[in-house]
C-alpha cells in the first residue's frame, strides 16, 4: 500500500495543507470561520446529543418492557420522555443535516470559497451550544415533565419542572437555526460559481434552500410562542390558561404553526441527501430533476398550512379540521412525486451497493412506511381513533429516524472521505446499515399495531394485554442501539487508522468531488467553471479522460 501511495504522490501534485491540518490549536477550531471546520464542530456536538437522546430513548423502552411503572416511576418517566423529545428535536433533528452536511457541502457544491457570512456561521454554532447548555442546565436541575410539546395550561400553570429554562434553550437554538437558513439562502443566491445555474444545482442544495425558507419564516413563530409561555408562567399574564383569561387551543395553533413545518426542516435535507445518493450511486442523471427540485419548494410552502391536523381532536371547529385534512392530503403529493422519481432513477442505472446506497435504499423502505401511514393520520375520521396513540409515535419515528437519521448516516458515510480524507471499513459500514434497518423495523413496526389497539402515548404503565408487542419493540430498540453505536467505533477508528481516501473515490461529477480530500481551506485551487448539468456522467462531465480518472481516484498524499 505504501508503494502505491508513494507512486501517486509522485505523480500528482497534492496540496500539503488542507483545512484540517492548517492548525491544531483549540483556538484554530473555536474561532474558525471556515464552513468546513464549523461543520465538523456541529458534527461532533450534534452526534453527541443524538447519543444522549438515544440513552433517554433506551430508558423509555426499558421502562415499557413491563406493564407496570417499575424501572422508572411516573415522575421520572415523564421527565425522561420529555428529555428524549427536546434533545432529539431541538438539538439533533433540526440542525443535524443542515448544520453539518449542509454547512460543509453547500459552498463546495456550488463552487464557493465559503458561506456568505462566515462569522454569522460561527455565531450560529455558539448560539446552538449556548441553547444546548441552557437546556442541559434545566435537565441537570431536575428536568421538565411537559413533553417536548409544552402544552398549556399544564406547562404554564401546573408543571413544576424547569419549563422556562428549557424553553429558553429552545429559544436560543432557534436563532442558530434562523442564522443558518439566512446564510444558506444568501450563499445560494450570490455565490454560485460561473456556469452553476439554478437548474445545475445539486438537489441537495435545492432541498436546503427550501429548508432555509422554513427556518427563516417558521422559527420566529416558535420563539414568540415560547416568550408568551414564559410571560404567562412568570408574570401570570393570561394568554393560554383559561383560568386567567387565556385560550389553551391558541397555544396549540402557535406551537404547531412552527412545529409542523419543523418536521419538514428535518426531512427535506434528508431528501436532498437521498437524491444525491440515488443519482450518484445509480450513475445517471436523476429522473425528473425539475420535479424533484420543485417538490422541495412545494413541501416547504404547503407545509405551512397543514398545522391544524395536529388539532383534529383538540376541539377546533370541525370545518377547520376538514380543511386541514384536505391540505394534508395535498402536501403528501410532492413527497410521493419524489419517491416515484427516485424509483425511476434506479431504472437502467449502474447501481453500486456501497454503504451510503444501502442507507439510501433503507431510507426508501422506511420513508414509504412513514409517508403512507401519514395518510391514515391525515384522514380526519381515522385520526380521531389514532391521535395520541402509539400509531402516531410509530409514524413520526418512521419519518424522523427512518427518514432523517437514515439520510444523516447515509450522508456522513458518503462524504466521510471528503470531510476527513480517510476511508472507513466498508464491511462494517454495510453491517451497520443492515442492523439499523432491521432493528428499526423491529422497534417501531409493532407500535403501529399497539396504536390501533389503543395504547396511548406518554404512558408509563399500560394494560397487560399490550405487553407482548412492547417486548418486541424493546428488543428492536436494543438491536437499533447496536446499529447506531457501530459507526461511532469504525468512523472514529478510521480517523486514525483509516486508509487515506482518494479525492473522488466513486468518480462522480459533483463539484465537491473535484477538489482534494480533505479540501483546502479555500475549497478550490481556482474557482471552477461549470459546463455540465447536475449528475452528468457523460462525456460533458470531463470524468472519462484517462487523466481525470487517475487524478480523481488517487489518494491524497
Amino acid at each position: 500500500m505504501q508503494n502505491i501511495d508513494a507512486i501517486n504522490s509522485e505523480i500528482i501534485e497534492r496540496p500539503a495543507v488542507n483545512y484540517l491540518n492548517n492548525g491544531y490549536s483549540l483556538k484554530s477550531w473555536l474561532l474558525t470561520r471556515d464552513h468546513k471546520r464549523i461543520a465538523m464542530l456541529y458534527l461532533a456536538s450534534v452526534s453527541f446529543f443524538f447519543m444522549l437522546g438515544g440513552i433517554f430513548a433506551g430508558l423509555i423502552r426499558l421502562e415499557l418492557l413491563t406493564p407496570q411503572s417499575d424501572l422508572l416511576e411516573s415522575a421520572s418517566y415523564n421527565k425522561v420522555f420529555t428529555a428524549h423529545g427536546v434533545i432529539m428535536v431541538f438539538l439533533f433533528l433540526i440542525p443535524a443535516i443542515p448544520a453539518t452536511l449542509g454547512n460543509f457541502l453547500i459552498p463546495l457544491m456550488i463552487g464557493a470559497k465559503d458561506l456568505a457570512f462566515p462569522r454569522i456561521n460561527l455565531l450560529s454554532w455558539y448560539l446552538y451550544m449556548s441553547g444546548a447548555a441552557v437546556a442541559a442546565y434545566a435537565l441537570l436541575q431536575g428536568g421538565v415533565d411537559t413533553g417536548w410539546t409544552f402544552y398549556a395550561p399544564y406547562s404554564t400553570t401546573f408543571s413544576n419542572g424547569y419549563v422556562v429554562a428549557t424553553g429558553l434553550g429552545a429559544f436560543i437554538i432557534g436563532f442558530s437555526s434562523i442564522l443558518t437558513g439566512l446564510n444558506f439562502i444568501v450563499t445560494v443566491h450570490t455565490m454560485r460559481a460561473p456556469g452553476m445555474t439554478w437548474f445545475r444545482l445539486p438537489l441537495f442544495v435545492w432541498a436546503h434552500y427550501a429548508t432555509s425558507l422554513i427556518m427563516i419564516l417558521g422559527t420566529p413563530v416558535v420563539a414568540i410562542t415560547i416568550l408568551l409561555l414564559a410571560l404567562e408562567r412568570l408574570a401570570k399574564v393570561g394568554i393560554f390558561d383559561p383560568a386567567i383569561g387565556g385560550d389553551p387551543i391558541l397555544f396549540q395553533h402557535l406551537f404547531w404553526f412552527y412545529s409542523h413545518p419543523a418536521v419538514y426542516i428535518m426531512i427535506l435535507p434528508s431528501m436532498g441527501v437521498i437524491s444525491e445518493l440515488i443519482a450518484n450511486f445509480s450513475r445517471k442523471r436523476i429522473f425528473g430533476y425539475e420535479f424533484v427540485a420543485f417538490s422541495s419548494i412545494a413541501i416547504a410552502v404547503i407545509g405551512f398550512i397543514v398545522w391544524g391536523h395536529h388539532l383534529f381532536v383538540s376541539g377546533q371547529s370541525i370545518y377547520a379540521g376538514l380543511v386541514f385534512s384536505f391540505l394534508t392530503m395535498v402536501v403528501a403529493i410532492p413527497s410521493a412525486v419524489k419517491t416515484f422519481n427516485w424509483t425511476a432513477t434506479l431504472y437502467k442505472g449502474s447501481i453500486s451497493w456501497d454503504t451510503p446506497m444501502l442507507y439510501a435504499l433503507g431510507f426508501l423502505g422506511l420513508f414509504l412506511v412513514g409517508g403512507l401511514t401519514g395518510l391514515f393520520l391525515g384522514t380526519a375520521g381515522l385520526d380521531i381513533h389514532l391521535s395520541d396513540t402509539y400509531f402516531i409515535v410509530a409514524h413520526f419515528h418512521y419519518i424522523m429516524v427512518g427518514g432523517t437519521v437514515m439520510g444523516y448516516l447515509g450522508g456522513i458515510h458518503f462524504w466521510w472521505s471528503k470531510m476527513t480524507g480517510r476511508e472507513y471499513s466498508e464491511f462494517w459500514g454495510k453491517v451497520s446499515a443492515m442492523v439499523v434497518f432491521i432493528g428499526f423495523n423491529l422497534l417501531f413496526f409493532p407500535q403501529f399495531i399497539l396504536g390501533y389497539m389503543g395504547m396511548p402515548r406518554r404512558y408509563a404503565s399500560y394494560p397487560e394485554e399490550l405487553q407482548v408487542l412492547n417486548i418486541f419493540s424493546t428488543a428492536g430498540a436494543s438491536v437499533l442501539g447496536v446499529g447506531f453505536i457501530m459507526p461511532v467505533f469504525y468512523l472514529v477508528h478510521s480517523l486514525f487508522f483509516g486508509k487515506k481516501a482518494a479525492d473522488n473515490p466513486w468518480l462522480l461529477p459533483g463539484l465537491e468531488w473535484r477538489t482534494a480530500s480533505p479540501p483546502i481551506t479555500e475549497n478550490f485551487e481556482s474557482t471552477p467553471i461549470v459546463t455540465w448539468e447536475a449528475y452528468e456522467f457523460g462525456e460533458e462531465s470531463g470524468l472519462h479522460t484517462e487523466e481525470a480518472r487517475r487524478t480523481t481516484l488517487a489518494p491524497t498524499a
Binding site: 445509480s282 376541539g315 381513533h385
Partner: protein
Amino acid sequence: MIMQQNSWIPLFPEQASSFASEVDYLYFFILAVTLFFGIGCAVVIFFFAVKYREKEKFGRGADIHGSMVLEVTWTIIPFVISMIIFIFGAVVFYNLYRPPADTMDIYVVGKQWMWKFQHGTGQREINELHVPAGRRIKLVMTTEDVIHDVYIPAFRTKADVVPGRYSTLWFEATKPGKYHLYCAEYCGLNHSGMRGSVIVMPQNEFDNWLSGNTSGQTPVEAGRDLFENKLGCASCHAGGANQRGAKLEGLFGTDVKLVGGQTVKATDEYIRNSIINPGAQVVEGYQPIMPTFKGQVTEEQLVSLVAYIKSLGGNGSANMTSTAAPTAPAATGSPTTGGTTPANTAANRQGSNPNAPKNQPEPANSNR
C-alpha cells in the same frame, strides 16, 4: 383489569360502538390502498436495485432525463386517490363529531388524575362509566385543571377535554362489556393512571343498575339549590318584570342580543362564561352589575347550574347542545329530552344529599 378480547382478528381492538365498524372500514380501505402502492413501490425498487446492479466499476447508467407523461401520471393518480380517502375520512369525521339531537347526556369533569361522571338522574361515578347499549349517549365534558382527553378505543372515538369550555363526545355503544377508558392527552404526573372503564349494559340491566344506586340530586336539582339558596342567583334573576338580571326562562338555545349590537347563541358554554366572566357578554338592556363567580363555583357546580338554566326552557332547535336531563322537571318541555327514564329512579331521588354518595371509593391514585 381484564377486558373483553374476543375480536376475530388477533391484536385488534373490540368493536363496541355504532361507528367502530365504520372507522375500521376506513382503516382497512386505506390499508389496502397503501399496501398496494407501498409494496408495489418496494418491489420495483428492490427489483431495479438487483437487476441494474453495476456490471463494472464506474459504469454509466442510461441517459434518461425524465418523462412529462410519467410525472403528470404519478402526480394525478395519488392526488385522486388521496381525495377519495379524504372524502371517506371527512364523512366519518363529520359523523363522529356531530352529535345527533336525541342523546342522553352524561356530564364529565376531568381532573388530575381521575374522571368524574354524573348521570342526568344524579348518579355519580368515578373512573367507571355505566351506559346502556343501543342508546345515543353524549358526554358533555370539561376539566378543572389541564387538558385531558376521553379515549375509548373500542368505540374508536376520543376528544380533548379542555379547561374553560365544554367539549362533547357522542357514541352509541352496541355490545355489552367492559372497555378501556383512557386519558389520551398528557396531563402530568399520573397521566397513565388516569384510566378507567366504560361498562356497557343492556337497557334493562342499566335500569336496574340505576335503581340499585343511591342517586344524589340530579344536576337540575343541584343547580336549582345553588341558584335559589347557595349562590343567591335568584335575587336578581328571578322576580318578575323588574328583576335586575337577565331573564333566564326560555333562554336556552335562543339568540341573545348583547350590548354593542352583537348576537350570540345561548349555549352551554355561553351560560358557563356568563357566570365566570359576566362582564364579557352583557345582555342588551341590562347593566353590567353581576359580580364574577370565578373561584366560587366548581366545574361540577357549573354543570349543575347550566343544567338548571336549561331546564327553564328554551329553544329546542338548538339540537347540538340542548338536552335536558332525563328526569328534569316537567318544566323543560324540551323535545330533546333523552328517551326512556326508568320510573323507579324518581323514588330513588328522595333522600337527596348535596354531596351525593359516590359509587366507588376514590382510587388510590387520586391523591392530588
